[in-house]
């Protein structure tokens, strides 16, 4: 004969497990949701607000991630607490007997037996037993003969999970609401900082410790760049640090291979070929002779100098460019802040701000010396010096830097600088009462092999014809009939 008390005790153990699991699962889904959201916040951001052109500052992103992780941890702790409480509350012999009674249809005979035979009760409880107790015991045993606690009290995972689903959904909705409240259109500095971060992450994945150090510097510079509380000089200092670190890194990479430069000078360094040419000849628009030769030599030098190959070189140059841009943005931001008519005026952001006249001579309009000096200019070594193109700017692939004064000053750009300043970038420009504007026309692109013209369809072109010659005198007084003479992208430069 089955001992009903043992069966009830077994059922109680099972019920405790079920209760603990059920209670714990009630908060499991929200906890999991919070942790997953915290872990994938970057990916979520890329897929949502960043795609829509918004951004979260690292501080806010970090705060949000911390809050989510904290919520997840708290929910997990809640899971554990609830499970523990449920475990303790389910530790009731009579209650277990009631559930068993329901399961077997015992008409409360199991409960009655349990209340009179509870092992935890004092022996005085047994005095309540009557001569009919043996009959009750037999009947209870009969009920429990085929009773299986594990089968009768199965783990129900679905119900607590479904119950917790609204909490998890609320968490997601809350995250969406908070993100909506926190996201802002990224400032130019933020965009730049993001680029720096991405580059730093690539560097950080390198096994080299030097790369890692450089990545750390760049990350610090990116953080500083995005930190609104940091004054511009501080930001510039950080950027300068990163730049100098970058230069050091570049020099370290190039010095051991000095001897290889000349021997490998005739290699295929197509992508880097324009650097030497652009740097050397900024002013001339002539298509110099001997471009192919010098290009080939220059390429060789560059190729030989790069310890990481063309891709690594490109990365370094990109980093330099990004750092330079960041510096320029910080400077322009500080400058515009100083020159703004009123603090907090609505001309912040990407719009051009009034600044000093770039047409005036003086050092103020020039980029600071550090920024300029940090631009990595490919310098062919002594053996290759004589092979540099004398003045033919066409000799380089990208000779944008060689066109001299364009009212933008001698802005520090790399030879490979791929584009002009956009509104909001670079030093502030003020053009007042301009009678005419001289625009620099894109030059034709000559392939490295020489002789063949390759039109660059991706270059910015004007939608209407315009000329870079002064207007005729009779037309000066005339009402302009063509309002599209100036390409729209440059109109904001003229006041």
């Amino acid at each position: 004969m089955i001992n009903p008390v043992e069966q009830i005790a077994a059922a109680r153990r099972r019920l405790k497990q079920v209760a603990a699991l059920r209670a714990g699962l009630t908060l499991a889904l929200p906890a999991l949701t919070a942790l997953v959201l915290a872990a994938t916040l970057d990916a979520i951001g890329e897929a949502t607000w960043e795609r829509a052109g918004y951004a979260l500052t690292p501080a806010r992103l970090g705060g949000l991630r911390t809050a989510l992780a904290l919520a997840g941890v708290v929910a997990l702790a809640g899971c554990a607490l609830m499970a523990w409480r449920a475990w303790r509350e389910a530790d009731d012999f009579i209650e277990a007997a009631e559930l068993v009674d329901d399961a077997v249809g015992g008409h409360q005979e199991i409960v009655t037996l349990a209340s009179l035979a509870d092992p935890a009760e004092p022996p005085a409880q047994r005095e309540l037993r009557t001569p009919l107790f043996p009959l009750l015991w037999r009947r209870a045993s009969g009920y429990l003969e085929r009773f299986d606690p594990n089968g009768a009290f199965a783990f129900e995972v679905r119900r607590p999970l479904v119950r917790s689903l609204p909490i998890a959904a609320a968490m997601v909705v809350l995250l969406a609401a908070v993100a909506l409240a926190l996201v802002r259109p990224p400032s130019a500095e933020q965009v730049q900082a993001r680029k720096l971060r991405a580059a730093a992450q690539q560097l950080a994945s390198s096994p080299s410790s030097a790369d890692k150090d450089l990545a750390a510097k760049i990350l610090a510079a990116a953080d500083a760049l995005e930190n609104p509380k940091l004054p511009p000089p501080e930001k510039l200092a950080r950027l300068a640090e990163a730049m100098s670190e970058l230069q050091k890194h570049e020099q370290q990479g190039s010095s051991p291979q000095q001897s290889a430069k000349n021997t490998s000078g005739s290699g295929n360094g197509k992508n880097n070929s324009g650097k030497g040419a652009g740097q050397g000849n900024g002013q001339s628009q002539d298509s110099g002779n001997g471009q192919g030769k010098s290009q080939g030599q220059g390429q060789g030098a560059n190729q030989g100098n790069n310890p990481n190959g063309p891709k690594g070189k490109e990365q370094i140059v990109e980093l330099q460019n990004d750092l330079s841009k960041a510096q320029a943005q910080v400077e322009s931001g500080a400058e515009s802040k100083n020159n703004a008519p009123k603090p907090g005026h609505g001309d912040q952001g990407n719009a051009l701000k009034p600044g000093s006249n770039p047409n005036k001579s003086g050092g103020a309009q020039k980029p600071d010396a550090m920024a300029q000096g940090n631009i990595p200019l490919p310098r062919p070594d002594a053996s290759a010096k004589g092979q540099l193109p004398a003045g033919g700017t066409k000799g380089g692939k990208n000779d944008k830097g060689g066109h001299g004064d364009t009212h933008l000053g001698e802005f520090p750009v790399a030879e490979n600088f791929p584009r002009f300043y956009k509104p909001g970038e670079g030093p502030a420009i003020e053009i007042h009462d301009a009678r005419y504007v001289l625009f620099r026309l894109p030059t034709e692109v000559v392939s490295a092999s020489g002789g063949k013209l390759v039109p660059d369809t991706n270059r910015p072109t004007a939608s209407v014809p315009y000329a870079n010659v002064p207007l005729k005198a009779e037309r000066l007084d005339a009402t302009p009939q063509e309002r599209q003479l100036v390409p729209p992208r440059y109109r904001d430069l003229i006041h």
């Binding site: 009579i94 009631e98 037996l113 009959l135 009750l136």
Partner: protein, 338 residues
């Protein structure tokens, strides 16, 4: 002389069920329908309580009581309550007798001295007379001229009252109402039952109930069965359930439902809880169990508590019955694991 054979609990329970079923069957030979009233009456008998039967005249209340006592082999007395009925007419009195030249007072027992006493139309007697039954019902003894006379067990009072013709009646005081274990209401018979009644009562043959116990041993046998009822076990959750019902029916009490607070002046006394448990125990035995279930309690709620609730003026004005209030209370108070 050998020892008496030991009766197992199973046999005792079986004997109870057999006896009860036979008693029901015997009463059913005479009384058509009203199975619920018969069952409740017998339940009250085995639970050791008294029953107040309410119904219009001519439904067979008196016959049912008489038949029940006949079927159980118990002595039966009937008292017709009238306004001029005196307490001594019920409990008995001292009479002066003369024997051998000596005059002495001798106690002449009244009709209360029987196993089953039927108080017919009990609400027609004055409160003074009605109260004469109080001591007998509760103490199972009467006191006359300072002398106490115990009533032989089993003692049971079956009182009837007419819900109509309230002119010249004396509604039973609350204290006396509380002493009845049950109040059962006898309704009008259904057409087919009425047809059967006509056949049985107007034909040549008469139906009588046969005693299931020999007259001499009936009281002892019934007392043994009553003792068995007391041995039925009640789990603690069931006791809490009963207490919860009492609380739900007590105005301004813990767990009182809104209807109770709105329509009742007083709720059931602890006797109500006792009645519930006792009746539940009998129900459990009738089901072959030795422990009380929630269904046993629920089945006893209305007959055991309906006469213990005192309605207020609003309930009477709105014709809200105690039965409906109890129904509400039972529904609101969910069984713990149901």
């Amino acid at each position: 002389m050998g020892a008496a054979p030991q009766i197992t609990p199973t046999e005792r329970v079986a004997e109870f069920r057999r006896t009860f079923a036979r008693a029901e069957a015997e009463v059913g030979k005479v009384i058509v329908g009203h199975q619920d009233v018969i069952r409740k009456t017998l339940t009250a008998l085995f639970a050791g309580g008294h029953v107040l039967i309410e119904g219009v005249p001519g439904l067979g209340k008196t016959l049912m009581c008489k038949t029940a006592s006949d079927a159980l082999g118990l002595s039966f007395k009937r008292i017709q309550f009238t306004p001029d009925l005196m307490p001594s007419d019920i409990v008995g009195t001292q009479v002066l007798t003369e024997a051998d030249g000596r005059r002495e007072f001798h106690f002449k027992p009244g009709p209360i001295f029987a196993h089953v006493v039927l108080g017919d139309e009990i609400n027609r007697a004055t409160p003074k007379t009605q109260s004469a039954v109080l001591e007998a019902m509760e103490e199972r003894q009467v006191t006359v001229f300072g002398m106490t006379y115990p009533l032989e067990p089993p003692f049971m009072v079956l009182a009837t009252q007419n819900p109509i013709e309230l002119e010249g009646t004396y509604p039973l005081p609350e204290a006396q109402m509380d002493r009845f274990l049950f109040k059962v209401v006898m309704g009008s018979p259904k057409p087919e039952e009425l047809r059967e009644i006509l056949n049985r009562t107007t034909g040549a043959t008469t139906h009588t109930a046969q005693p299931i116990f020999p007259v001499a041993s009936a009281p002892v046998a019934i007392e043994q069965l009553k003792a068995l009822v007391r041995e039925v076990m009640v789990a603690e959750p069931l006791e809490r359930y009963v207490i919860g019902i009492i609380g739900a029916c007590t105005p301004n009490g813990p767990g009182a439902i809104p209807e109770v607070s709105q329509y009742l002046r007083f709720g059931p006394s602890p006797r109500g809880a006792q009645a519930l448990i006792l009746c539940s125990k009998v129900n459990a035995l009738l089901d072959g169990r030795v422990s009380v279930s929630y269904d046993d309690v629920a089945d006893a709620v209305v007959p055991a508590l309906r006469h213990r609730l005192l309605r207020n003026f609003q309930a009477e004005a709105e014709n809200v019955s105690t039965d409906s209030i109890l129904d509400q209370a039972t529904k609101r108070l969910k069984k713990p694991r149901a």
